[in-house]
Amino acid sequence: MSRYIIKRLLWMIPVILGVLVIVFTISYFTPGDPAMSMLGTNYTEESYVALREKLGLDKPFLVQLWNYLWGLISRGDLGTSYIGSVPVATEVVHRFPITFKLGIMSVIVTTVIGVPLGILSATKQYSVADYTVTSFALIIAAIPNYVFALLGLLLFAVKLGWLPVSGVDSWKSWVMPVAANSFGFIAVIVRMTRTSMLEVIRSDYIRTARSKGLRERLVIWKHAFPNALIPIVTVIGTQLSFIMAGSIIVETIFSIPGMGTYIMTGINSRDYPIINGTVLLLSLCICGMNLIVDIAYAFIDPRIKAQYESGRKRVKKAKIPGKAVP
């Protein structure tokens, strides 16, 4: 198993390099020029050429790409943002934890609310609970997160005064952003849990478990749920990348100085170092999440674990009985 994890970690390096090269190319070829947005109304021909010279934008594409990658690998230098001439690394150091914290908390909230609701509506299929939960999840999914955020702020912060309007200091200021960021995704988790639970509940080993005299709650949580985990864990894994993207709007509304607002500034003013730096961090995060999800597969389903360990092209299902498993 550990061999598999090391292999995956080694694989992360080419992935991240791949991400960087692709993002660098995309931002390079996207119309729009950082030098222009920096000069703004002070634009004059010579100052424009001088600025491109200073920023190294006039060099051919490959040279720029190589300088950036070499700088990153050798000195871990993320480059300096064109606009604010502030090293990206310093900005990212105190912005990334905020977005990461927001992201992880949102994923936890969606899972903690989504999964039990999904199981509830699966076990009591076609009942009152099932329809209310499904429709509630669908309605929440249809409300845009900024409408939800603003109304929530209006109600809880201004009218009732329980929560602060913005800021990141006390735990209270995290309640609304996390809620706004995660409510949109609860529907996805609820429906996916419901579907996979429905498939599992009708299988024979559930009937065997019942015939062993287990209480219904135990049958659901100890036998049915673990078997339904695979698609649920996958969806939770993919939520993180959507949540990170969604956080751009939530961070704007709650004025949270996180990666979301930072990448927006980068994209708005085509500030390549910012875009590359933030995407590097985001991809590290997402690759890490994917790795965790894949490892979770192995813990959930021994058959997949066997497939990882054997690593052979096509695994024959039935092993020769008695052969010791490594």
Binding site: F29, T30, G32, A142, P144, S196, Y297
Partner: protein
């Protein structure tokens, strides 16, 4: 048929067997089950109504969608303007009805694209495993790591901003998610006996995937894609939040919603009605998706 010959059954038995066989063709069966699923029918009706509204928008609306009237802006809903007027004094109802055409088009195309690529990549990676699985998964990691918004901006900036191009821009960020979901389901299905049997009877890999594995992956695919439709419409409003996506003169649910943002507290119709339409679409497609999944997967019937 063969059995009756063997046992030499009576006339009326042959009759009952024949029409039983006819009645139970696979598609007919699915359609019949779909019909008697009440909620599925509600979903289907909403979809049909929506399609009717958007296609025949000329008939249904009194005002042309672009007619501005600065005299009465921010009109609350009244018999003249069913859904009130927006900040330009245009009739919200006709803009939403006309805009629906593009929103549904973009939503459906982007889900279709991300689904087809997702299914192909996911099933190939899930089924073959080993080297193929690793390379595909890592490519998907790359695609997933690039923030959807940046990808959408880059693509729509390069391709220009028509509905179809926006759909493509949005669908790209959806591909990894559906691919990973399908891969994980295929991996757990692959270890079942009937897949083993299909391989044993000498069918090619392609046949096994499309004839045996994919039909059993229908449930997660449908659930994922029906939810995707709503999600994509919201993605367009995300794009127009930063000025890309469908450009203002042409109305579209997502851009109407994001243009209503500053008036959230003072003039609710500009936010509520677009969200209502998006919610209806999301609802309809999900009810339909559920009914379809239950109909297609007999085991799931109660």
């Amino acid at each position: 048929m063969i059995i009756t010959m063997l046992t030499g059954g009576g006339e009326e038995q042959i009759e009952s067997l024949e029409n039983a066989a006819r009645r139970h063709t696979q598609a007919g069966d699915v359609f019949r089950r779909l019909l008697n699923n009440k909620l599925g029918m509600i979903g289907l009706c909403i979809v049909i109504v929506l399609l009717f509204l958007t296609i025949f928008s000329g008939v249904v609306t009194k005002f042309p969608y672009e007619e501005q009237d600065f005299g009465n802006r921010f009109q609350f809903p009244d018999p003249v303007h069913i859904m009130g007027t927006d900040n330009f004094g245009r009739d919200i109802w006709s803009r939403l009805v006309y805009g629906g055409r593009i929103s549904l088009l973009v939503a459906v195309i982007s889900v279709a694209i991300s689904l087809t690529c997702g299914v192909i990549l996911g099933s190939v990676a899930g089924y073959f495993g080993g080297k193929v699985d690793i390379t595909i998964m890592r490519i998907l990691d790359i695609l997933m790591a690039i923030p959807g918004l940046l990808m959408a901006i880059a693509v729509s900036a390069m391709l220009g901003s028509g509905p179809v191009k926006t759909a493509m821009a949005i669908s790209i960020s959806g591909i990894p998610a559906s691919a990973r979901l399908i891969r994980s389901t295929v991996m757990s299905i692959k270890s079942n006996e009937y897949v083993e049997a299909a391989v044993a009877t000498g069918s090619t890999n392609r046949r096994v995937i499309f004839r045996h594995i994919l039909p059993n992956v229908i449930a997660p695919i449908i659930v994922n894609s029906t939810l995707g439709i709503g999600g994509n419409i919201m993605a367009i409003s995300g794009l127009s939040f930063i000025g890309l996506g469908v450009q203002p003169p042409t109305p579209e649910w997502g851009s109407i919603l994001s243009s209503g943002r500053p008036y959230l507290r003072d003039f609710w119709p500009m936010i509520v009605f677009p969200s209502l339409f998006i919610m209806l679409t999301l609802f309809a497609f999900n009810l339909l998706g559920d009914a379809l999944r239950d109909a297609l997967d007999p085991k799931l019937k109660k």
